[in-house]
């Protein structure tokens, strides 16, 4: 028994203090709520692109609220105010789990929708207004929210089955591949077209350098967008894979001890999402639209 205890502390679980969770949760809640309210209140932002951004922000808001609430419950139960295994607490735990599940799956769907919307903007620019009408946007968003709600309930109910986890991981990998492909395709087209424009008889060196630096900026933006998504989401999904594949391996055990760090990473993605998708260089303009709808 003693040796078992000693073995268990070789890779102790890394605890993240509650204050970190609270700060990340509250800040991401405030940001995403700002985005949601601004898009809803301002009629100028009633376009497909902003609808998808608003949906992403709504899912992130739900995730932040649920995570902060869960933290509160854990703090209360650690202080002895709540019973950890009571029936009402378990039910509440299930509700929070399904909300979290819904928001994670919904975030991924929203990323996919935003990438497809941008793809249609670039490659079918002239027919964009026919392809992506507000009715279709509403239908797509309704389908996303309904699917996420149903999946969340099913996943939490049947989480014991490995099949659910496998589906989640496969869905994540496919979404990652599709998003990567879409954005790199768009970037390559932008590069080729910019090269063609530069071939015009312009003759000014500053233009070429400007074009080159603008494409560099595009590469940086794309790296930040995709890199943030990958860095924040992949550790958690690797955790799911490791649970399924090697629960007893000591190396896997050491990876699983960092679970709370991975959850903080996922929450911080909800925090930086508005900066990547909604707020731009003209950030003050966005806020102005919020104040003066």
């Amino acid at each position: 028994m003693n040796s078992g205890l000693m073995n268990q502390t070789d890779c102790p679980e890394v605890m993240v203090p509650f204050t970190v969770f609270f700060i990340v949760g509250v800040v991401s809640l405030a940001e995403n709520l700002l985005v949601v309210v601004a898009v809803i209140r301002n009629r100028n932002l009633h376009s497909p692109m902003y609808c998808f951004i608003c949906s992403l922000a709504a899912f992130n808001t739900i995730a932040s609220v649920t995570k902060t609430w869960e933290n509160l419950m854990i703090v209360l139960s650690d202080m002895g105010q709540l019973e950890k295994r009571g029936p009402s607490e378990t039910k509440l735990d299930d509700v929070m789990d399904s909300l979290l599940c819904m928001s994670f799956v919904g975030s991924i769907f929203s990323f996919l929708a935003i990438a497809v919307d941008r793809y249609i903007t670039i490659f079918h620019a002239l027919r964009y207004h026919n392809i992506m009408t507000m009715q279709r946007t509403g239908v797509i968003l309704g389908a996303i929210w309904t699917t996420c709600g149903m999946l969340a309930v099913l996943m939490v109910k049947f989480f014991d089955f490995k099949f659910v986890m496998i589906c989640l991981v496969v869905f994540f990998i496919i979404s990652l591949a599709v998003i990567c492909f879409l954005y790199v395709y768009m970037f390559m087209l932008a590069r080729i077209h910019a090269k063609n424009i530069a071939a015009l008889p312009i003759g000014r060196k500053s233009r070429r350098q400007q074009r080159w630096s603008s494409i560099m900026r595009g590469a940086l933006t794309l790296t930040i967008l995709f890199g943030a998504f990958v860095v924040c989401w992949v550790p958690f999904f690797l955790h799911l894979i490791i649970i399924m594949v090697c629960p007893m391996n000591p190396y896997c055990e050491c990876y699983r001890s960092l679970f709370q760090l991975h959850v903080v990473l996922m929450m911080s993605h909800a925090l930086i999402d508005p900066a990547i998708y909604a707020f731009r260089r003209h950030q003050c303009t966005f806020v102005v639209c919020f104040i003066y709808p």
Binding site: M49, I192, I197, A198, R207, R217, T223, Y255, T285, C289
Partner: protein, 224 residues
Amino acid sequence: MSDFHNRSQISARRSDYVWQYEYYEEEEPVSFDGLRAHRYSIVIGFWVGLAVFVMFMFFVLTLLTKTGAPHQENPDLAEKRPRPGSCLVDINGHQEENDKAFSRPLLAGSRSYFNFYINEEDQDQGRPKRDDNRSSARDKTSRGLCSSGMDEMEEDLEAAGGHGRLSGHVEKTKTDREFLSHFNIPNFVNLDHSSTLGEDDLLYEPSVILERQAQAHNDHCDSR
């Protein structure tokens, strides 16, 4: 009975692993004896691999960019400068050198899509939804939003045909469109006309142009 108990323990633990913090049970200690590599080797390997992947992606994108670096453009421009009148041919020729699969949807560069858009605008003039926001009082704000809705990459992609970019074209040529529509002007004349309008400014500083024309022109970008 014990099997059922074990299974329920394992299933409870599995759900505990993902969503709750107290998930390390005492029943199954993991043995750490005889480890050949470092304990956190998976963790270190994973993060190093992730960092390598992100840097690799960035370098691949910038290498794609470097093939169009400024010093390589000189020979191309030296060839094309003496032939300003046949820009149409130049663009088409240049298109064929590049990947056709990418450039084909754009109908060989800005020239054709420029006119294409003008033709579409003429057809769509009767549509009510284009007229809804024409007299919007918040053009300036919405113009800023148009530009705020696109990040730097999309400003480059606007050069490839984004709809925000299209609005830049439309705004710039709205007064010209009435002029052009009265004449059946062939394509190359439009190109010359557009280049005198400072097409490069539109291509490389779309947000500036958009904001500059906020008061003068209607918002097309927000008609969706």
